[in-house]
């Protein structure tokens, strides 16, 4: 009886271990750039400090060949500072932060949000942003500041995360396979 139980438990071992192979976890290093799109209008006149706003990932984030954060992943940002323009020529002020994007059950925390020109660095085939406005997304302008929906910015992952590689379908009816990601070796400045 005992021998049977032992045999049963031992035979179950490979099945449990095999579950890990189904979704390989990819290490996403801290400070990985994430292109972000604002999904709603933010105004220095209407929004207040602490207001939250919707954001989405504007472009797939890959580690090596593995897709880890797909474009369209939803998340949230926060208004850090908002000041209306006032008398005596006081300009309107707005500072925004990207807080997180959600990938499956994982909340990927973000930092260093900057709104500006986001482009593709062709040499490195990675996202690069012209940080024309410093390490935070801020605006100063005489009058009301309005940041329209679909404004692009760039944030960075705040921590190192392990995310499952997203399964992508191949064109023209070919079989669907999991992307077998390697440990990330890319460097982020």
């Amino acid at each position: 009886m005992f021998a049977r139980r032992v045999a049963l438990l031992i035979s179950a071992l490979p099945l449990v271990s095999g579950a890990q192979d189904a979704a390989p976890l990819i290490t996403v290093p801290a400070l990985t750039p994430v292109a972000v799109r604002l999904e709603e209008l933010i105004s220095s006149n209407k929004n207040k400090i602490g207001d939250h706003f919707r954001i989405t990932v504007a472009e797939d984030v890959r580690v090596g060949e593995a897709l880890v954060i797909p474009a369209g992943s939803a998340g949230e940002g926060e208004v850090i500072h908002a000041a209306k323009s006032g008398a005596g020529g006081k300009a309107g002020e707005l500072i925004l932060a990207a807080r997180y994007v959600r990938v499956g059950d994982v909340e990927v925390r973000l930092r260093s949000f900057a709104l500006g020109v986001v482009g593709k660095d062709q040499a490195a085939n990675s996202l690069a942003a012209s940080m024309i406005i410093g390490p935070f997304a801020m605006f100063v302008k005489g009058g009301v500041i309005t940041v329209p929906p679909a404004t692009l910015g760039i944030a960075k992952t705040a921590l190192e995360f392990k995310l499952p590689a997203i399964v992508t379908s191949t064109p023209a009816g070919q079989s669907v396979e999991s992307i077998k990601g390697e440990e990330n070796e890319s460097k982020v400045d």
């Binding site: 032992v6 005596g88 100063v140």
Partner: protein, 149 residues
């Protein structure tokens, strides 16, 4: 007794990967810790208007920087939310969130008031600061009173 222990051991071995799997999605490397700091550069352009008025930047009553016309201060601050306050005729507050290893630029100015003018702190950029840095005097840590007890 021994049989029970062996069974328990094997069962624990069998389910160990499940436990590891559920922990693997958690963030593993904190990008900032409690001791992490960022840098805030407060600067004020050299201008005739309001040149006679200088004012201090404070946080929670602690003086961080005294800004006269054409001066700047570099202040290391802990990571997290901050509210910097200046007060002349009117009070102005700039809320910021400092992240580890980042440098933030804050431009101070003074606008028309009845007596002493209205001081203002506004977020700015490295480019703006660099453009006028040569004409600014470094006032970091100078002319500050110790915190009141």
């Amino acid at each position: 007794m021994n049989r029970k222990l062996i069974s328990l051991g094997i069962a624990a071995l069998a389910f160990a990967p499940c436990v590891t799997l559920s922990q693997d999605n958690a963030p593993t490397t904190p990008a900032s810790d409690a001791a992490a700091t960022g840098t805030v550069v407060f600067f004020r352009e050299k201008k005739m208007m309001g040149a006679a008025i200088s004012y201090k930047v404070r946080e929670n009553g602690v003086e961080l920087c005294k800004l006269g016309s054409g001066s700047f201060c570099t202040v290391k601050v802990p990571v997290g939310k901050h509210a910097y306050v200046t007060k002349t005729e009117a009070t102005d507050v700039l809320n910021m969130e400092v992240e580890s290893g980042e440098t933030y630029y804050v431009q101070a100015s003074i606008s028309m008031g009845v007596m002493a003018g209205h001081s203002n702190l506004a977020p700015s950029t490295k480019e703006v600061f660099d453009g006028m840095k040569a004409k600014l005097k470094d006032n970091t840590g100078k002319d500050l009173d110790p915190p009141k007890k």
